[in-house]
């Protein structure tokens, strides 16, 4: 059945990312793609996944995807909403987050993320929004999932700026830290989910290697879209195709979201 579905690469990515979240995982959700995947997980196989957004909304269950990290929907459907300092101090830094789920503008071989700029810091070619919550999400969550579309512009040999630590410039930045730091520093990015494949860090070198290809995607396509000589795992699997239910739920979620955010601040919304 599911193989007959006409699934876009973007949907494939979202479904694969959503499956990475287990039920009852506490997930600190970045806006955009991670939010889409995390909510799909909650609406399908992982109904008790706990979603946390940096706006302070704890255990939220939005009916539509938020446009921003602080949409009212997130607060209205949350168990409770705490102040932003408490969110970062008690809930993230306090070690309560299982998975930090991030997007990025650039990612390199050692899973370092750049959302700061392209070029030189003082004379940037492109100025990006900056780190936001990511630098500490990536180091205070028990592990990190990264979700990003695959392109040579995005997957670079070395990021222009390490906004957010993956495994450092040489892959060793999470090793040999002070024991107290080690107790809090998570495993880092354990999966990178793209629209072409899934990558995981090599257990030895921490270099990202391809461990699964999405159905129909060739090695060549991944090599072409990756800015370093990408390696493949000894045994590369094929990502399971999305189920009809997953695609249906995802499309309904996106349609609801589209309708919700498209409107002006209508009377109907004011009344709700």
């Amino acid at each position: 059945m599911s193989t007959a579905l006409d699934v876009t690469p973007s949907e494939m990515m979202t479904v694969t990312a959503s499956r990475a979240l287990n039920n009852r995982t506490t997930c600190f959700v970045g806006i955009g793609l991670p939010s889409e995947a995390a909510n799909l997980a909650r609406l399908t196989h992982a109904p008790e996944t706990v979603l946390i957004y940096e706006s302070g909304t704890l255990q939220t269950r939005p009916d539509v995807l938020p446009l921003s990290i602080g949409d009212g929907e997130l607060c209205e459907t949350a168990l409770t909403t705490v102040a932003v300092p408490e969110m970062f101090r008690y809930w993230l830094q306090g070690g309560r987050v299982d998975v930090g789920f991030l997007g990025t503008a650039q990612i390199d071989k050692y899973a370092n993320l750049n959302t700061t700029l392209i070029g030189d810091y003082r004379e940037p070619k492109v100025r990006l929004p900056g780190g936001g919550g990511a630098p500490e999400i990536a180091t205070n969550s028990k592990e990190v999932f990264v979700m990003v579309k695959h392109s040579r512009r995005t997957f670079v040999e070395a990021v222009d700026f390490v906004t957010t630590l993956g495994f450092g410039r040489d892959g060793t930045a999470r090793d040999n830290v002070h024991p107290e730091t080690a107790r809090h520093l998570g495993k880092g990015p354990t999966r990178v989910i793209t629209d072409l494949c899934v990558m995981r860090p090599d257990p030895e070198t921490r270099e990202l290697i391809v461990t699964e290809l999405h159905p129909g995607v060739t090695r060549e396509a991944v090599i072409e879209a990756t800015g370093w000589p990408v390696r493949f795992a000894e045994s590369v699997g094929t990502t399971p195709a999305p189920s009809a239910e997953e695609i249906e739920v995802l499309r309904a979620l996106k349609a609801r979201t589209e309708r919700h955010h498209a409107g002006e601040a209508t009377e109907q919304e004011r009344a709700s």
């Binding site: 921003s68 607060c75 500490e136 498209a262």
Partner: protein, 275 residues
């Protein structure tokens, strides 16, 4: 001791040229009306502090009010870049803008430390990040008990903080509900504070542990209905997402931006200014 003042009077009295100003509100309750009043009063050389600069600072920066920005995420959420911010950073237009860049965790802790009367904040942060290389305000500190190194940032202590809230009672006590962000911390960390509110009520109707700012912790209150639009006020009006999307085209071009600001901010009065 809160005084009820017109927004014009409040901004005129508490925001000086060269001041360090924090306007907070995390997506929710962004004090747009107050920001517009600062623009109308042509304040200059401000150090603007805000975790998520958003459209409000794109407007202030584009109108030449700021010479420095302390922030942690500068974008139009879910839409794209802040074009006026980028133009100021990349092209120094209309005036050069120095940026001091943190992470959200660092700024949240820095506000918290400011509210707590401390000179610096400690956090388990910036590990492996290049941000400390470009921001000399990020230092390290050693735990005197474990020897662990942690990050330290100076606390944020603005000359004036400006926030928007749902309501004040007649004494000037203010209730903030929903996504409360760092507003309480911003107000308590500042020397002066201006709170714009949707309305004044007889009773706040707050729960026993609600986020209430007592009037003796506030300098001025201005009643400004829709004072957070196009952002939103929980319980009053939703976020104008369409405007957030439209802003991208308005702000992309210098002239289009200038025209829009003239029409919707400079030529508007204090109460009708919020786009």
């Amino acid at each position: 001791m809160a005084e009820f003042l017109s927004l014009q009077e409040a901004v005129s009295r508490f925001v000086s040229d060269g001041a360090t100003v924090a306007m907070e509100g995390f997506t929710h309750l962004i004090p747009f009306a107050a920001g517009h009043e600062v623009i109308r009063q042509k304040k200059r050389d401000l150090t603007l502090i805000r975790m998520t600069p958003d459209l409000i600072y794109d407007q202030l920066i584009g109108m030449g009010c700021a010479s420095k920005l302390i922030f942690s995420w500068g974008g139009n959420p879910g839409v794209g870049s802040l074009h006026r911010l980028r133009d100021a950073v990349e092209k120094h237009y209309p005036v050069p803008l120095t940026i001091v860049e943190h992470s959200h965790a660092a700024m949240a802790c820095a506000y918290e430390a400011g509210a707590a009367g401390l000179p610096f904040a400690v956090l388990r942060g910036f590990i492996g990040s290049d941000l400390p290389k470009v921001n000399d305000q990020i230092k390290s500190i050693t735990c005197p008990f474990t020897g662990e190194e942690l990050a330290a940032v100076p606390s944020i202590r603005p000359d004036v903080s400006i926030v928007h809230a749902q309501k004040a009672d007649r004494h000037g006590n203010v209730l903030i509900e929903g996504i409360v962000g760092v507003q309480k911390e911003a107000v308590l960390a500042a020397t002066h504070s201006i709170v714009t509110v949707e309305e004044v009520v007889d009773e706040l109707g707050a729960g026993p542990n609600a986020c209430v700012l007592p009037e003796w912790a506030i300098s001025a209150i201005s009643v400004v209905p829709m004072g957070a639009a196009p952002s939103y006020t929980h319980g009053y009006y939703p976020r104008d997402n369409t405007f957030y999307r439209r802003w991208d085209a308005i702000a992309r071009d210098r002239d289009t931006f200038a025209d829009w600001m003239t029409q919707h901010v400079l030529n508007a009065d204090a109460q009708g200014a919020s786009q």
